[in-house]
């Protein structure tokens, strides 16, 4: 993608939307709830969706529908971000990319209708391709309940969770699939992501402090003392203030999208270098695609006094060629930048 730096930034905002608009056939960009899978084949399995640190299943965080206009094989393209929300881990993150050409076996050639089809309100637990989805988290569910053989889970943790929350009573009843799925307190609240272009602002000159020659006839001693004891802007604070100025125009933004642009970092520490970003399996480099802002955590309502899901900025890097390794889900790279090192 040439001339990437001249590209305007798309800002994403979270909004409440009716459930039908967040289904797969409408190609949504959404936060929380169950993932609205794009391609129906090659879904990431439970091993791919396990937290790298603690091993427990990751929760779906958000998905972004980001097609590439000049690529026919990426007419539909989605990025799915998962995170670990179990304390004390709260750290594992994974992102997957899937793309489809316009003519594919899952969706029609034409755009979907803009109104709600006569879809039932029940949660879709099985893809058209026949793969079953976990009852708790909506990801691929290869394991089934051993008694009724009718409910599917992705892992033992989710099976125990569902058992305690109602499957124990419903397991033996014949038509329990028609009952509403209980709230397992595992999924994040569901929102739609709507986008707008960022206005080109000229950020107020947030200046650095250099050694300046003091002039003037003030009492020299007083200035020195004041200078010593006053709170000077450290480099951390300078970068943080720059971040705040940049988002001040639209403080509710939760996402900044721009393929190839320079990400807006929130801290001076923990900025990834070239060597920290691994290359794609196809051999090409990974470039920055979008970043998730910390304001999203206001919507997720997952803060606790102890350890909880927290980040400064989540930067997602994807293959520069957007290589198509089959019609499955390829793993990409996500970098988490915290604001401070503490807790």
């Amino acid at each position: 993608m040439a001339a990437a730096s001249a590209q305007p930034v798309e800002l994403g905002f979270a909004e409440v939307a009716p459930a039908w608009r967040l289904r797969s056939e409408h190609f949504p960009s959404k936060v929380g709830g169950r993932p609205a899978w794009l391609g129906g084949a090659g879904l990431p399995g439970p091993e791919a969706l396990g937290c790298a640190r603690c091993g427990r299943p990751l929760a779906f965080l958000l998905q972004v529908y980001a097609p590439l206009p000049e690529r026919p094989d990426a007419f539909h393209r989605g990025l799915f971000l998962f995170c670990c929300r179990e304390p004390p881990c709260c750290a594992g993150l994974r992102v997957f990319r899937n793309q489809l050409p316009r003519k594919n076996e899952f969706y029609s050639y034409d755009p979907p209708p803009e109104n709600s089809s006569s879809e039932t309100e029940s949660v879709c637990l099985q893809l058209k391709s026949g793969a079953h989805l976990c009852r708790v988290c909506g990801c691929l569910g290869p394991k089934a309940c051993s008694r009724c053989q009718n409910t599917y889970y992705c892992s033992k943790e989710h099976q125990t969770l569902d058992w305690r929350l109602g499957h124990k009573q419903l397991c033996t009843k014949p038509d329990h699939l028609n009952h509403t799925v209980p709230d397992h307190n595992f999924l994040f609240p569901e929102f739609e992501i709507v986008t707008e272009t960022e206005n080109e602002i000229l950020p107020e000159a947030v200046e650095k402090e250099d050694d300046y020659e003091v002039i003037g006839s003030m009492d020299e001693g007083l200035e020195e003392e004041l200078d010593f004891m006053a709170k000077h802007e450290s480099r951390e604070e300078y970068i943080f203030q720059k971040f705040k100025t940049q988002i001040a125009l639209e403080p509710q933004q939760i996402l900044r999208y721009g393929r190839g642009i320079k990400p807006l970092w929130i801290s001076g520490e923990n900025i990834p270098q070239e060597k920290d970003i691994p290359d794609c399996r196809c051999g090409s480099k990974r470039i920055f695609e979008f970043q998730v802002m910390p304001q999203l955590l206001n919507y997720l309502k997952a803060d606790r006094l102890g350890k909880s899901v927290d980040w400064g900025v989540l930067a997602v890097f994807t293959c520069a060629e957007s290589c198509s390794l089959g019609t499955g889900y390829t793993e990409e790279f996500v970098w988490k930048q915290d604001i401070t090192d503490t807790s």
Binding site: P8, E10, G12, F13, E15, A17, P18, F27, S29, V64, Y65, A66, P67, P69, H76, R102, D110, P111, E114, E192, V194, T195, E196, T197, E204, E207, Y212, E213, V214, I215, M218, G221, L222, E225, L226, D227, F228, M229, A230, K231, E233, E237, Q241, F243, K244, I247, P251, Q252, Y257, R259, I266, F290, M293, Q295, L297, N298, D303, L305, T340, T342
Partner: protein
């Protein structure tokens, strides 16, 4: 790029422009255009960016002191506004122009010192340099808020009324300078040089100080009011009973003195 072709359901369908979705606010209806944005009105509402900010906004943290207990650094000045907001008064101590020589001539910027305090136990000091005075003052106020420390006050003599002075003699060091703050009877006021006097006035009334131009030592001393451990703060030691006293009943029953139990020699246990 963010046209609403998605909303209109054009022939290209959803696979047209990257991430083009609906504009904000017209997600539910069919209206096009970016004008109908619902979120424009509340740009003054503080949306926190840090975890501490979110906890404060949700009222999970009741006071500033609680946030000190959690040892989380305060990065957003809105947090201080939330707790101390109305009672904070700021004062500009000094604005001094500083110059830099460039090829195109001299470049002047203004360096501003601002103190802030709530006249009831908190104060802070910030410095910012900027091309305009107003920007510098604004920036310095933010930094002053971020630098707020609590001040512990105590009594000089009788514990009457509210605490009015430093709790004990505190010393602050800076370089070769040593500053000592001593408690004083009420009514003394602050006896010190103008600069530290302005600072101390922000925090509390009734401290005396040795003469000194070196205010950092004073700041250091004040910060120590909460770090000194005095006798009154010692944790009450809970004395446990000595084992002989605690188990006296058991000892009487089973382990009698040899002189008494001559007849029952086998039962004497070797303790």
């Amino acid at each position: 790029m963010a046209d609403d072709s998605g909303a209109a359901g054009g022939p290209g369908g959803r696979g047209q422009s990257p991430i083009s979705g609906r504009g904000r606010g017209c997600g539910r209806g069919q209206c096009g255009g970016l004008g109908a944005r619902g979120g424009k009105a509340n740009y003054k509402v503080w949306i926190p960016v840090t975890k501490l900010g979110r906890l404060v906004k949700d009222m999970k943290i009741k006071s500033l002191e609680e946030s000190y207990l959690l040892s989380l650094p305060i990065r957003e000045s809105e947090i201080i506004n939330f707790f101390l907001g109305a009672s904070l008064k700021d004062e500009v101590l000094k604005i001094m122009p500083v110059k830099k020589q460039t090829r195109a001539g001299k470049q002047t910027r203004f360096k501003t010192f601002v103190t802030i305090g709530n006249y009831n136990g908190h104060f802070g000091l910030g410095v910012k340099c900027s091309k305009e005075v107003a920007t510098a003052i604004r920036g310095a106020i933010i930094l002053a808020k971020l630098s707020i420390v609590p001040v512990r006050r105590g009594y000089w003599g009788n514990k009457m009324g509210k605490p009015h002075t430093v709790p004990c003699k505190v010393t602050g060091y800076c370089g070769s300078v040593l500053v000592r703050l001593c408690p004083a009877p009420g009514g003394t006021g602050i006896v010190s040089a103008p600069v530290p006097k302005k600072l101390l006035l922000r925090a509390a009334r009734g401290c005396t100080a040795t003469l000194g131009h070196f205010a950092k030592a004073i700041f250091d001393a004040i910060s120590k009011t909460y770090s000194s451990l005095i006798l009154a703060l010692w944790k009450e030691t809970v004395f446990t009973k000595p084992p002989y006293q605690e188990f006296t009943g058991h000892l009487v029953k089973t382990h009698m003195r040899v002189s008494v139990q001559r007849t029952q020699a086998p039962t004497v246990a070797t303790t």
